[in-house]
Point group: C2
């Protein structure tokens, strides 16, 4: 077996191990965050809001793909978000089966408040990070976000959504 193959396999193993450690650390961090904030808000709703902030209004199916959940799961999340008036459903005039889901001002405030409380809750654990450590965490988060965003080819669907955004009608209007 050529030397390069051995090197590649070893490198793949190393990266795999690092990824497992990152996932493991993430799992624990999620629990620490949940407990310290008092566990009031669920990650799923806030992931969905974050996606809407980052990528703009989109259909339930698109949102499910971006948020990495099954479509029926997203239907439920959107219903809950709608009841809280954190999103509104906009009828897509180009396709009567579909809805555009858009975040509301109230939803943006909820997301901001969640970020504030999350930061405040975790700060005591990390307050004495060195500048270097803080930089490592910031870069790691950026790397993960970039890779996860790139994992699925979503650019096309987002563009489509933007293109149809001008021909939509608020829910409650005659359909």
């Amino acid at each position: 077996m050529p030397e390069t193959v051995v090197l590649d396999a070893s490198r793949a193993t190393t990266i795999s191990q690092i990824l497992v450690e990152v996932v493991s650390a993430s799992n624990r961090l999620t629990r620490v965050a949940a407990r310290r904030t008092g566990n009031t808000e669920s990650p799923a709703l806030l992931r969905t809001l974050s996606t809407l902030i980052a990528s703009g209004p989109m259909r339930i199916g698109e949102l499910a793909v971006e948020s990495r959940v099954a479509q029926p799961t997203m239907t439920k999340l959107v219903r809950t978000l709608g009841e809280r008036e954190w999103v509104r459903r906009i009828a897509d005039t180009a396709d009567a089966r579909a809805w555009q889901i858009a975040i509301t001002k109230k939803g943006e405030r909820a997301l901001d408040e969640w970020r504030d409380s999350m930061g405040a809750a975790l700060l005591p654990v990390f307050a004495d990070l060195s500048d270097d450590e803080a930089d490592v965490l910031a870069r790691a988060a950026a790397i993960l976000h970039a890779r996860i965003a790139g994992e699925i080819g979503t650019a096309a669907s987002v563009t489509d959504t933007a293109a149809t955004a001008s021909s939509v009608v608020e829910e409650g209007a005659a359909r």
Copy 2:
């Protein structure tokens, strides 16, 4: 107000924002991992096994604290783990109310297999990481693990557990 207070507040804000980004990235990574592995195993069971590997046998209550869940949640998880024979319950002769929970060989194998499949599932997304990026992720995971481990003063209870480990009896023995 003195200048240093302003600087501290600004630094706290920066760190808080970084932490929020890390949590956000973690949430998304968890979903990506769940979907790519086919979602067969739950994070909670594997977090528990990881804790047992890292810190050795301990009581359900201690395990709940380390794993950042409520005690009844851990009781359920331990029951599930016991049914799969991934842990065994050992009677604590010093306190008839308590159990020592220990991971089994089968549990260790399950954890290893999970790590392997997780690494393999995520590798395609991260295979072309630069050496520098891989290093950043590894260091970030280490920082998180260290901070989370240090968040709760668990050293004493772990020591206690080790101290009583010699006076325990397997479940099924006369009590």
